[in-house]
């Protein structure tokens, strides 16, 4: 097995951190954009770019809610995202076992 077999969308440090953070939440939970940003220590611009890539792949879903004058965005891992991380973790395990 080679590193090429690791999902290229997840096998990037920033996106791996995003996916791992969301996957550590209980199934069915979402995280606000600001808390996610705080937890990962990323700039809003960088986080938005990475979230968009993951969302385009169907790994994430985001929801915008208006709360008075403020808008709150929450993000959650989709079942497809959880499966992708599961497959990625298994591939990593296989790779490390063979190293």
């Amino acid at each position: 097995m080679t590193t090429e077999e690791l999902d290229p969308l997840i096998h990037v440090p920033t996106r791996l951190k995003i996916v791992a953070t969301l996957a550590a939440l209980p199934d069915g939970d979402a995280l606000s954009f600001t808390r996610l940003q705080d937890m990962l220590g990323l700039t809003p611009g960088n986080l938005i770019i990475q979230l968009r890539k993951l969302e385009d792949a169907g790994y994430l879903s985001s929801e915008k809610r208006r709360n008075g004058s403020a808008q709150k965005t929450t993000v959650a891992l989709t079942s497809q995202g959880r499966e992708a991380l599961g497959a990625y973790t298994k591939a990593l395990r296989d790779l490390l076992g063979g190293l």
Partner: protein, 220 residues
């Protein structure tokens, strides 16, 4: 806060080593589990000792009573302070941990209402029993030491079972079992059983959560 590995500086250049990826995946998962856990092991450990001290203080005040009368007035402020500390610490930590978290794991208003009804109901019944002239060993001993644990434990277990949260369901059932065992320990012994039992359940839960938080996704 744990530092993230240098791997985070590597972006889409294909040089992200699998070992670094495994470390980053485990670190991020463990950090997140710790940060969003509403009942962290350290808090449960403190609560275990609070339970032991609170119930223990009551037990010390009643253990020599023959016949059983009631806990002494001196113990009430101690218990009241411990209950308030426990409540404030639990709510503060849980609120901080779940900031920004939404979805299925948050308690619904109906579930909060069910727990509130149980707590109020337990003490309303206690008042009715006291008014009806039921013996002191029940009203000031067995009932307050055991029934709140059984009632709250069973309702919470039901709520957690409905959510398929089996770890929390087992903890709640264990609390109810502690209450049930206390019934057979007599009015003074019920306080001791409740204190020790609750302490053991909370320490066990703390250990289980600590183990889960540290478990690696990648490495065996």
């Amino acid at each position: 806060m744990n530092p993230t590995p240098d791997a985070t500086t590597t972006e889409d250049d294909g040089s992200f080593d699998p070992r670094q990826a495994a470390t980053l995946l485990d670190q991020t998962t463990q950090q997140t589990r710790r940060r969003v856990e509403p009942y962290p092991p350290w808090l449960l450990t403190i609560r275990a000792f609070i339970a032991l001290v609170a119930y223990g203080a009551v037990w010390l005040s009643v253990r020599g009573q023959h016949p059983y009368n009631h806990p002494t007035a001196a113990v009430i402020p101690v218990v009241a302070v411990l209950v308030v500390v426990n409540f404030v610490a639990t709510v503060t930590v849980a609120k901080r941990a779940t900031t920004g978290v939404s979805g299925r794991s948050r308690l619904r208003p109906a579930e909060i209402a069910a727990m509130a009804v149980v707590w109020v109901g337990v003490f309303v019944v206690l008042g009715v029993l006291a008014g009806a002239g039921v013996s002191h060993s029940v009203v000031y001993g067995i009932y307050p030491a055991t029934v709140p644990l059984m009632a709250a434990g069973l309702v919470w277990a039901g709520i957690m079972a409905a959510r398929a949260n089996w770890r929390a369901c087992c903890t709640a059932l264990a609390v109810a079992v502690v209450g049930a065992v206390g019934v057979f320990a007599g009015p003074a012994g019920a306080w001791a059983v409740a204190g020790v039992g609750l302490c053991v359940v909370l320490l066990g839960t703390a250990a289980a959560i600590a183990w889960r938080q540290r478990r690696s996704l990648v490495r065996p």
